[in-house]
C-alpha cells in the first residue's frame, strides 16, 4: 500500500518545478527572460570537453588498469586470467626494467642539463642590443617546432659514420655515433639538446627581460663583479621561469620515444617508453605492459603536479 502525501504546491506554484521547467510558471515567463541561463551556458560549454577527455583519456586508462592485473596477450585469442599483483611484482623485481629506468634517468640528466646550459647561455648572449634580434630569435627557435621523428631521421644522416657532416666537420674520421653502445645515448641526447635548447632559451629570455634594469645599474655603481651580479641578481630573478623550463623538459625527456626510437636501437638506448612500446606491440605482453604503463603514468603525474604548481606560481606574479 502506498501512502500519498498532499503536495505543498500545485505544479504551477512549486518553486522547484518552475526552476526545472520555466514554462510552468504562472505567467509562463522564464525566471531569466533572455536566452539560455548562464548556468546552462556554463554547462553547455564545459561539460562536452570534460566528457570527451574522460571518454578518450580516463576510460582507456581504467580499461588498461583492469588488464594490468591479468596475463592478457592481445596477439592471441586466449582469455585473460586474473593474476593479481603478479605483473607489478615481476616488473619491480626485474633488473632489466631497472636498467631501462637507469638509462632513462641518465638520458634525462644529460639532455636537460645540456639544454639548460646551452639554452640559458644563448639567452644571455641574446639579451642585449643586437641588430636583427627578433629575426635571430625566431630562427633559433625553429628546431623545437619540428617533428621529433623527422629530426631523428635527419640527425641519422648527419651522424652517418661514412659520409656524415658531423664527422667531417669535427675531423673524427669514421666515428660510429649510433652503432657504438656507449656513445649512442649521448648522440641521441645531443640531437635532443639541439632541438630543445631553443625552448629553454625562449623561457630564459622572458625571465631575463623581466629583470629590472635599475638593479644592474645599482650593482654597477657598487662595482659588483660580473659573477656576483649574475649569481645575486640575474639567476635568482630568472629562477622561477627557468624552473618551469627544467620541469617541463624533465617530463618530456622522461617520456622520450620518437627521437630515441628512430636514431638507435641499442640495448643501451632503450629508454622506458621504448621498452613499453616493445613490450606492448612487439612482444604482445599486453597485461604486463599495462602494468608498466601504470608505473610510468604515476611518475609522470607526479612531475605534472609539480609542474602545474610552478606554472600557477609564475602566473600569479
Amino acid at each position: 500500500m502506498r501512502l500519498s502525501f498532499p503536495r505543498p504546491f500545485p505544479d504551477n506554484q512549486n518553486p522547484e518545478a518552475i526552476l526545472a521547467n520555466p514554462s510552468l510558471a504562472p505567467d509562463g515567463s522564464a525566471p531569466r527572460s533572455r536566452g539560455l541561463s548562464d548556468l546552462a551556458i556554463r554547462n553547455l560549454f564545459i561539460i562536452p570537453t570534460i566528457i570527451f577527455l574522460i571518454v578518450f583519456n580516463i576510460f582507456p586508462l581504467i580499461y588498461s588498469l583492469g588488464y594490468s592485473f591479468t596475463d592478457f596477450r592481445a596477439s592471441t585469442n586466449a582469455p585473460a586470467n586474473f593474476v593479481g599483483l603478479d605483473n607489478y611484482r615481476a616488473l619491480l623485481s626485474d633488473p632489466f626494467i631497472w636498467k631501462n629506468f637507469t638509462i632513462t634517468a641518465k638520458y634525462v640528466i644529460v639532455s636537460v642539463t645540456g639544454q639548460v646550459v646551452v639554452g640559458f647561455g644563448v639567452a644571455m648572449l641574446l639579451n642585449r642590443d643586437i641588430p636583427f634580434k627578433g629575426l635571430l630569435t625566431t630562427l633559433l627557435l625553429l628546431p623545437m617546432m619540428l617533428s621529433m621523428a623527422v629530426v631523428g631521421l635527419f640527425w641519422k644522416l648527419l651522424y652517418d659514420p661514412n659520409f656524415g657532416v658531423i664527422n667531417y666537420a669535427l675531423g673524427l674520421g669514421n666515428f660510429e655515433w649510433l652503432a657504438d653502445p656507449d656513445m649512442a645515448l649521448y648522440a641521441i641526447a645531443i640531437a635532443d639538446i639541439w632541438m630543445w635548447s631553443p625552448f629553454v632559451m625562449l623561457l630564459s629570455l622572458a625571465g631575463l627581460s623581466a629583470v629590472p634594469k635599475h638593479l644592474y645599474e645599482a650593482a654597477a655603481i657598487d662595482r659588483a663583479s660580473g659573477l656576483y651580479t649574475f649569481f645575486r641578481i640575474t639567476l635568482p630573478l630568472v629562477a622561477p621561469i627557468l624552473m618551469i623550463a627544467v620541469i617541463f623538459r624533465t617530463m618530456e625527456a622522461f617520456k622520450t620515444f620518437d627521437i630515441a626510437y628512430i636514431l638507435a636501437s641499442q640495448p643501451t638506448t632503450e629508454v622506458i617508453s621504448i621498452r613499453l612500446f616493445k613490450m606492448a606491440f612487439q612482444e604482445w605482453q599486453t597485461g604486463m605492459s599495462c602494468a608498466l604503463a601504470y608505473i610510468v603514468l604515476i611518475m609522470v603525474l607526479a612531475i605534472t603536479n609539480i609542474y602545474v604548481k610552478y606554472l600557477n606560481k609564475v602566473k600569479e606574479r
Binding site: G35, I46, L61, L136, L301
Partner: protein, 319 residues
C-alpha cells in the same frame, strides 16, 4: 644602454656577437643540410668530403612522388626523347616510372601520406580549437567549484605519455574497427590538443575585459550573442595562434600514428623514416620528403613568432 663603453665592454659585445653567429650556424646547419640534400643529384648526396656547392635539381621531388623501378639498360633514344621532362629525370637516375596497364603514372606512398597528415591535422585542429575556445570561455567567465582541480585534470591528460594511452586505445580501436582509420587518429589528436587549447585560450579570453560583454548584455544581447559577437572577434588572434599550435602538434605527432596506423590512414611522420629501411637509401628522396613536410611548420613558426612563449608555457607566461 650607456653611451660610454670601456674597451672591455666593446670587446665582450663583439665576442658575444661572434658567438651568436656560431650558434646560429650550429642551430640552422642541420636544417640547411637536409634542405640542400633535397635538391642534390643522388651521387652528390653522400660524398666525402660533403658537397656544399652544387647545381640544384628537382629530380628528388619527382622521385619522391612517383613509384619507380630499376632498369638495367638505358631506354631507347626515341622512348627517352618522347618522355616528359620529369620522366627523363627518372631515366637519368637509372630508373623508370612504373605505369599501370593503361599507361597511368603510379604514385609513390608519399602523396597519400601527406594528404592523410593534412586531413587528420586540419580536422583535429578545428575540433580541438572550437571545443577548447568555448570551454576556456566557461572557465574564464563563470564560477566553477574546484576550478583549479578541473584545470589540472585537463592539463594532466595532455601530459600522459603517448605509448601509455596507446595500449588501451589500440585494444579499444581494434574492437570497434577504428585502427588504421582517419577518424581514430582525429579523435586521439583532438583529445591530445584539447587540453592545450583550453589552457591557451583561457589565457587569451582572461585578457578580454569582462565589461565588453556586460555592456552588451545591458544592451539586450543574450549571453550567447555576446559570446559570438563580442568575445569571439576579440579573441580572433588567440584562436588563430592556438589553431596553428594545435596543427603543428598534430602534424608532427609520431607515436600514436606509428601504433594506430599502417597503410590506409598512415601519416607522414611514421612513413618518412620507414623509407630508410635496409640497403642503401636514396637520401635525396628522403630529404625531399622531409623538406616538404617541414616547410609548413617553418612558415607557421614565423607567423607564430610573437606567441611562441605563450604557447610553449600553456598560456601561463605572457609577454
Amino acid at each position: 644602454m650607456a653611451a660610454v663603453r670601456t674597451a672591455g665592454e666593446v670587446f665582450r659585445h663583439r665576442a658575444s656577437l661572434v658567438t651568436l653567429l656560431l650558434v646560429l650556424v650550429i642551430f640552422l646547419g642541420p636544417i640547411f643540410w637536409i634542405t640542400a640534400t633535397a635538391f642534390k643529384p643522388r651521387n652528390l648526396a653522400t660524398t666525402v668530403p660533403p658537397t656544399v656547392f652544387f647545381e640544384p635539381e628537382i629530380s628528388p621531388f619527382v622521385k619522391l612522388m612517383t613509384k619507380r623501378s630499376q632498369i638495367r639498360t638505358a631506354p631507347a633514344p626515341e622512348v627517352y626523347e618522347a618522355a616528359p621532362w620529369w620522366e627523363k629525370q627518372v631515366y637519368d637516375g637509372g630508373e623508370k616510372v612504373v605505369r599501370s596497364g593503361k599507361g597511368e603514372v603510379q604514385l609513390s606512398g608519399y602523396p597519400s601520406r601527406f594528404l592523410n597528415s593534412l586531413i587528420v591535422a586540419v580536422t583535429s585542429t578545428l575540433l580541438a580549437v572550437s571545443m577548447g575556445t568555448i570551454t576556456a570561455y566557461g572557465f574564464s567567465r563563470f564560477k566553477i567549484a574546484g576550478e583549479d582541480d578541473w584545470l589540472f585534470f585537463i592539463l594532466s591528460t595532455r601530459m600522459l605519455p603517448p605509448v601509455v594511452v596507446a595500449i588501451p586505445m589500440f585494444l579499444m580501436y581494434r574492437a570497434v574497427g577504428l585502427n588504421d582509420s582517419h577518424l581514430g587518429l582525429i579523435i586521439l589528436y583532438t583529445a591530445f590538443n584539447l587540453s592545450f587549447s583550453v589552457w591557451l585560450m583561457k589565457g587569451f579570453i582572461d585578457e578580454i575585459p569582462k565589461e565588453y560583454e556586460d555592456a552588451a548584455l545591458v544592451d539586450g544581447y543574450t549571453r550567447m550573442q555576446a559570446f559570438f559577437k563580442i568575445v569571439l572577434p576579440e579573441a580572433a588572434t588567440g584562436i588563430a595562434a592556438t589553431a596553428v599550435f594545435c596543427f603543428i602538434t598534430a602534424w608532427n605527432e609520431y607515436a600514436f600514428a606509428l601504433i594506430m596506423t599502417n597503410r590506409r590512414a598512415q601519416t607522414a611522420p611514421p612513413f618518412i623514416p620507414s623509407q630508410v629501411g635496409s640497403g642503401l637509401p636514396d637520401w635525396t628522396v628522403i630529404a625531399a620528403g622531409t623538406f616538404l613536410f617541414l616547410l609548413p611548420v617553418a612558415i607557421f613558426t614565423f607567423l607564430l613568432r610573437n606567441h611562441l612563449l605563450r604557447g610553449m608555457s600553456f598560456g601561463a607566461i605572457r609577454k
